[in-house]
C-alpha cells in the first residue's frame, strides 16, 4: 500500500474516533434524546469514508492522503452537532452524504484525466454563468439566510455556488491558454499582438459578476467568494499590480453604490452595524455573539450549548454551536483544520504538473477557503448577514456535494505530483548508511 493511503487510513480512523466521541459526550448529557440510535448513522458515515478510501486505493494510490481525512473530520463533527440540535435531520444528512460520496466516487473513477474536464471548460463556463446570474432574476430568495437557488425538501441548493464551481474550470482553461500564448509570444513563436485588450477580459468579467451579486443579490459574501477566487487564479496566472489596484477600486465603488442605492442592501448593512435596532434580522447576529460569549475559552462541552436558540444554526451559522460548545480552543482547532486544507491546496498548486492543473487547484482551494471565511465571518459579525454554508460541516447536502466534488478534483491533481519525502525523514537514513560500511 502506498504511504499516502496509510496516512489516509490512519487519519480516517482518527476522524471516526473523534466523531463518535463528540456524539457520545453529547449523548451522555441527560437532556439529550440521542442514544444508541446514533450508532448506525456514524457507522454509515464511516462506511462512506471507507468506500472513498478503497476507491482511492484502487484508482489513485499516490493521491494526497490528507485531504479526505480532513474533509471527513469536518463532516463528522458537523454530523455530531446536527445529531443533537436537529435530530430529525440525521437521516437526511446521511442520504446527502451518500450522494456526496457518489459524486466523489464518480469523479475519482469516471474522470481519467483532467484533460476531459478541461475540454468541457467552455460548456461549463456557459452553464456556470447561467447558474450565477439566473437566481436573482427570479428572486427565488425570500430571506437573507436562504441562498438564491431552489430547495429540495429542506435543503437549499445554492445554484450560485455550483455556478462558481463551473466557472472556476472555465476560467482556469482560459488563463492556461492565455499564459501559453503569452509564453509563445515571448519566445517569438507567434506574432505579438500589440495592445492586446484580452488581458482585461477576466477582470471586467469578474467585476461584472461581483457587482451583479452585490446589486441584485444583496450578498457581500457571494461577491467576496467570487472576487477572491477570481483574483487568486488571475494573480497566480497573469496578474499585474496596476490591474489589481484598478479592479479593487472598481469593486469597492460597486459596493458603495450597492449600499447607498439598493434599499435591501442598505438594510443589511444597517442591521450589520447595529443588530439591536432590527430584531427581526439582527437576532441571528446578536444571538450568535451571545452564544459564542457563553462558550468562552473552554466552551460548554458538547451538548451543553444553546442549540436552536440561534436561528439557522445547523446550516449557515453552524460555526456558532461548534465554537460555543468546544470553546475558543475548539473553534481555533476547527479554523486551523481549514487552514490545513488551505495549506495542502497551496502545496498541490505549487507542485502540479501543468499550468491548468495548478490554476484549477488554486481556484478550488480558494473556493473552499473563501466559503469557509464568509460563513464564519457572518457568524462573527465581520460581514453583513447572508447565508453561506460552512463547507463539509453544515447540514446542507448541496454544499456537501459541491465540496466533495472539488475535493475529488484536488485529489486527481495531487495524483500526478511526485511524492517527495520530508528532509527530516532522510536524516536517519543518512545515519544508517554511515554505520553500514563496517
Amino acid at each position: 500500500m502506498h504511504k499516502q493511503r496509510v496516512i489516509e487510513l490512519t487519519l480516517l480512523l482518527l476522524a471516526i474516533a473523534i466523531t463518535s466521541a463528540t456524539a457520545a459526550i453529547a449523548a451522555l448529557d441527560d437532556q439529550s434524546e440521542i442514544g444508541w440510535i446514533a450508532l448506525p448513522y456514524i457507522a454509515g458515515l464511516a462506511l462512506l469514508w471507507f468506500a472513498s478510501h478503497l476507491a482511492l486505493r484502487r484508482r489513485m494510490p499516490t493521491a494526497n492522503g490528507l485531504l479526505l481525512p480532513v474533509a471527513a473530520l469536518l463532516q463528522g463533527l458537523g454530523f455530531a452537532f446536527v445529531l443533537r440540535i436537529d435530530s430529525g435531520a440525521t437521516t437526511k444528512h446521511l442520504i446527502w452524504s451518500a450522494i456526496a460520496t457518489g459524486a466523489f466516487l464518480s469523479v475519482v473513477i469516471g474522470v481519467r484525466s483532467l484533460k476531459v474536464v478541461r475540454r468541457a471548460g467552455k460548456l461549463l463556463g456557459i452553464l456556470g454563468a447561467i447558474a450565477v446570474l439566473l437566481p436573482p432574476i427570479f428572486h427565488t430568495s425570500t430571506s437573507y439566510f436562504i441562498p438564491s437557488g431552489f430547495r429540495i425538501q429542506s435543503v437549499y441548493v445554492d445554484l450560485q455556488k455550483i455556478g462558481i464551481f463551473c466557472l472556476i474550470i472555465f476560467f482556469a482553461d482560459w488563463l492556461a491558454s492565455y499564459r501559453l500564448r503569452n509564453t509563445a509570444e515571448h519566445f517569438g513563436e507567434v506574432d505579438r499582438i500589440e495592445g492586446d485588450p484580452s488581458r482585461f477580459a477576466p477582470l471586467i468579467g469578474g467585476w461584472l459578476i461581483a457587482s451583479f451579486l452585490l446589486i441584485f443579490n444583496f450578498d457581500t459574501g457571494s461577491a467576496f467568494i467570487v472576487c477572491s477566487v477570481f483574483l487568486a487564479m488571475w494573480w497566480v496566472a497573469v496578474g499585474r499590480a496596476v490591474d489589481l489596484l484598478g479592479y479593487l477600486i472598481a469593486v469597492a465603488l460597486s459596493t458603495l453604490v450597492a449600499v447607498t442605492t439598493v434599499p435591501e442592501m442598505h438594510t443589511r448593512f444597517q442591521t450589520w452595524l447595529n443588530p439591536g435596532a432590527n430584531p427581526e434580522w439582527g437576532d441571528s447576529i446578536t444571538r450568535s455573539s451571545f452564544a459564542l460569549a457563553g462558550g468562552g475559552l473552554t466552551g460548554t462541552g458538547p451538548g451543553g450549548g444553546s442549540g436552536n436558540w440561534v436561528p439557522d444554526v445547523v446550516d449557515n451559522l453552524i460555526f456558532v454551536p461548534l465554537a460555543e460548545e468546544l470553546g475558543f480552543i475548539g473553534g481555533t482547532a476547527i479554523l486551523s483544520t481549514f487552514v490545513l486544507l488551505l495549506g495542502v491546496g497551496f502545496r498541490l498548486a505549487n507542485g502540479a504538473s501543468n499550468e491548468f492543473d495548478s490554476i484549477v487547484t488554486i481556484g478550488m482551494t480558494i473556493f473552499l477557503a473563501s466559503q469557509t471565511w464568509s460563513s464564519i465571518a457572518v457568524a462573527l459579525q465581520l460581514l453583513p448577514p447572508a447565508g453561506h454554508s460552512l463547507p463539509f460541516i453544515s447540514l446542507n447536502g448541496a454544499a456537501l456535494v459541491v465540496g466533495y466534488t472539488g475535493l475529488a478534483l484536488l485529489l486527481k491533481i495531487s495524483e500526478g505530483i511526485p511524492f517527495v519525502p520530508d528532509k527530516t525523514q532522510l536524516l536517519p537514513q543518512i545515519r544508517l548508511s554511515n554505520r553500514s560500511p563496517s
Binding site: 455573539s289 481555533t332 495549506g343 497551496f346 505549487n350 471565511w373 464564519i376 459579525q381 465581520l382
Partner: protein, 479 residues
C-alpha cells in the same frame, strides 16, 4: 508562479488571522459584557424546561411554579394567577427568553448559582437538580386590592413600605398572561409574543418600573427641598403673603413660615411662584437634590437584583425655571414612589426591593435581601417640613373618598401636564407614622374630564391606602 502563490497564501492567512482575532474578541475579551447584555436571553432560554424553583409572595401564595407534564418536554412553567403578576414574575419561554424575576433571578431559580447548587456537603459529590425558591416582598392581598382599584384603567401603581423600601404591590396595565408565552406549543408562543411585542399599547412593558412619564407638579417637592436648604422660602413667604390675603401676621420663625408658604405653594400650584423660585435656586442645586432622591442617578434607580431592562436616565430641563416645575422631566412610578418613601422615612433613602429572600429546597433561607439604606437624602427637619406641607395641602384639597375617621394622608396629584396624556398621584399614609406610600399613574388623560381627573385618581389612591392599612397583616413587610 510560486512567488505569486505565496502572495495569495499570505492574504488568506491574514484573512483567517482576522477570524482568529475576532473569535478571541467575542469569546474572551468581551465575553463578560455580552453575557450581561440586556438583550441576552440565552441563559434563561436554556433553563426553559429544566427543574425550576417557585416564586412566592410574602404571604405565601405561589405565583410561578413548575409542574410535571407528560410529553416530549417533562416540565411546564405555570403562573396560577395569570396576568395578575405578569410584570413581576415575567415569563420564561423556549423561544423568546424571559423577563422579570424569571430572568433576573434565573441563576437562583434554575440552580446554576453555586449557593443554590451546593446546599449541603453531599451536593459536592452527587449531581442532582437543586433549585432555589424566590420569595418576594410583594403581598398577595395588597396586589389583589391594587388590581381591584385599578380595574379598567391603563397605567401603573406602586405600593412601597417606606421604612424598609420593600415593594408591597406593583401593578402595570395593560398586561399579559405569561402562561401563553411559556407554553410548549412553541409556534403559538412565538406568535403570541410577536402580537404582544407589536401591540401599540405595549402590554410587555412594565410601566411601574421601566416606563417614564413627565413629572410636572410632583417635581415641586424637589424644588421645595432645594429652596428649604437654600433658606429661600422666608423671603418668598413675605412676597407671597403680601400678594395673597393678609389674614396672618408673619410673626413666627422663618421655618414655620416656610411650612405655611410651602403648603400654599403646593395648594395653589402657582406655576409662576415656582418658576421664580427655580430661577433663584439655579440649575446645579436642583439637579443635586434630584440626584440625592435617586431621580437623575448616573445609574438609574433599579429594584434590587434587576439589572436587566431599559430605563432612560432623567435629565433636567436646561432652564431652571422650567426645571423647577418638572417640565420635560420624566420618571418611572417606582422612582416617584421612592421619592415619597424617602420623605416619609425621615429623609433616609432605602433601596427599593421586590425580592425578600432565596429559599433552599427544605425552606432554609439561602440568601436574604436585608433593607439597605442608600443615603440620607435630606435632613430629618427638611423631611418633616415637607411632610407637614403635603399633609396640609391634602387637608385643604379634601381628597374624596376619605372618611372622617379614615387614615390621615399626605399626598399630591399632578394633572393638566404640558405634555403627554397621563396623570399622577402619590400619597403617604398615615401622616404621623408612615406605613405605606402609594403611587398611581393613569394613562389616557384625554379620556377623562379634566376636572374630574384629579378626583378619579385620588379616589383610586385613597381606596388602595385604606384597604392596605386595614389589611390584617399590614406589618408583614416590616419583619
Amino acid at each position: 508562479m510560486s512567488k505569486r502563490l505565496i502572495h495569495v497564501g499570505v492574504v488568506f492567512l491574514a484573512l483567517y488571522g482576522l477570524l482568529f482575532f475576532r473569535l478571541e474578541w467575542i469569546q474572551i475579551f468581551s465575553a463578560e459584557k455580552l453575557q450581561n447584555h440586556t438583550d441576552n436571553t440565552r441563559q434563561v432560554t436554556m433553563a426553559f424546561d429544566q427543574p425550576r424553583g417557585e416564586i412566592r409572595t410574602a404571604d405565601g401564595e405561589v405565583i410561578a411554579q413548575t409542574v410535571a407534564v407528560s410529553g416530549s418536554r417533562e416540565r411546564l412553567r405555570q403562573y396560577p394567577y395569570g396576568s395578575m403578576y405578569s410584570h413581576l414574575t415575567g415569563f420564561i419561554s423556549a423561544v423568546n427568553g424571559g423577563s422579570g424575576i424569571e430572568r433576573n433571578f434565573n441563576n437562583f431559580l434554575s440552580g446554576s448559582d453555586l449557593s443554590v447548587r451546593i446546599q449541603d456537603n453531599r451536593d459536592f459529590f452527587i449531581d442532582r437538580a437543586r433549585t432555589g425558591q424566590v420569595e418576594l416582598s410583594i403581598r398577595h392581598d395588597v396586589q389583589l386590592v391594587t388590581r381591584a382599584a385599578m380595574a379598567g384603567q391603563n397605567g401603573a401603581a406602586v405600593i412601597i413600605e417606606p421604612s424598609s423600601g420593600a415593594v408591597l404591590g406593583m401593578w402595570s396595565a395593560p398586561n399579559f398572561d405569561p402562561n401563553y408565552l411559556s407554553s410548549h406549543d412553541l409556534a403559538a408562543a412565538a406568535a403570541d409574543f410577536i402580537t404582544l411585542r407589536s401591540s401599540t399599547d405595549q402590554p410587555l412593558q412594565n410601566r411601574a418600573e421601566f416606563l417614564t412619564h413627565e413629572l410636572g407638579p410632583l417635581f415641586t417637592l424637589v424644588t421645595a427641598t432645594a429652596a428649604i436648604e437654600a433658606d429661600l422660602l422666608a423671603t418668598e413667604a413675605k412676597h407671597e403673603l403680601s400678594e395673597g390675603s393678609n389674614t396672618k401676621a408673619t410673626s413666627e420663625t422663618a421655618i414655620s413660615s416656610c411650612i405655611q408658604t410651602l403648603s400654599i405653594l403646593l395648594t395653589k400650584q402657582c406655576t409662576n411662584q415656582w418658576k421664580a423660585l427655580g430661577e433663584q435656586i439655579g440649575q446645579s442645586d436642583l439637579s443635586s437634590v434630584a440626584k440625592r432622591f435617586g431621580l437623575t442617578d448616573v445609574d438609574p434607580l433599579r429594584l434590587e437584583g434587576s439589572p436587566i431592562g431599559n430605563l432612560s436616565r432623567g435629565a433636567l430641563d436646561s432652564s431652571p425655571a422650567a426645571a423647577a416645575i418638572g417640565e420635560n422631566f420624566a420618571a418611572s412610578p417606582l422612582q416617584v414612589a421612592h421619592l415619597f418613601a424617602t420623605i416619609a422615612n425621615n429623609g433616609t433613602r432605602m433601596q427599593p426591593q421586590v425580592v425578600r429572600r432565596i429559599l433552599a429546597h427544605n425552606g432554609d433561607s439561602i440568601k436574604e435581601f436585608a433593607p439597605k439604606a442608600l443615603e440620607q437624602s435630606v435632613s430629618k427637619e427638611t423631611a418633616a417640613i415637607l411632610m407637614d406641607a403635603l399633609a396640609e395641602k391634602t387637608r385643604q384639597d379634601s381628597w374624596p373618598n376619605l372618611q372622617e375617621n379614615g387614615p390621615s394622608i399626605a399626598g399630591l396629584t399632578a394633572s393638566r401636564l404640558a405634555t403627554g396624556d397621563h396623570i399622577w398621584s402619590a400619597a403617604i399614609a398615615p401622616v404621623t407614622q408612615p406605613e405605606v406610600v402609594v403611587v398611581v399613574l393613569l394613562e389616557g388623560d384625554d379620556q377623562f374630564n379634566r376636572d374630574t381627573a384629579d378626583a378619579t385618581i385620588s379616589a383610586i389612591t385613597g381606596r388602595i391606602i385604606e384597604a392596605v392599612l386595614r389589611l390584617p397583616s399590614s406589618n408583614v413587610g416590616s419583619s
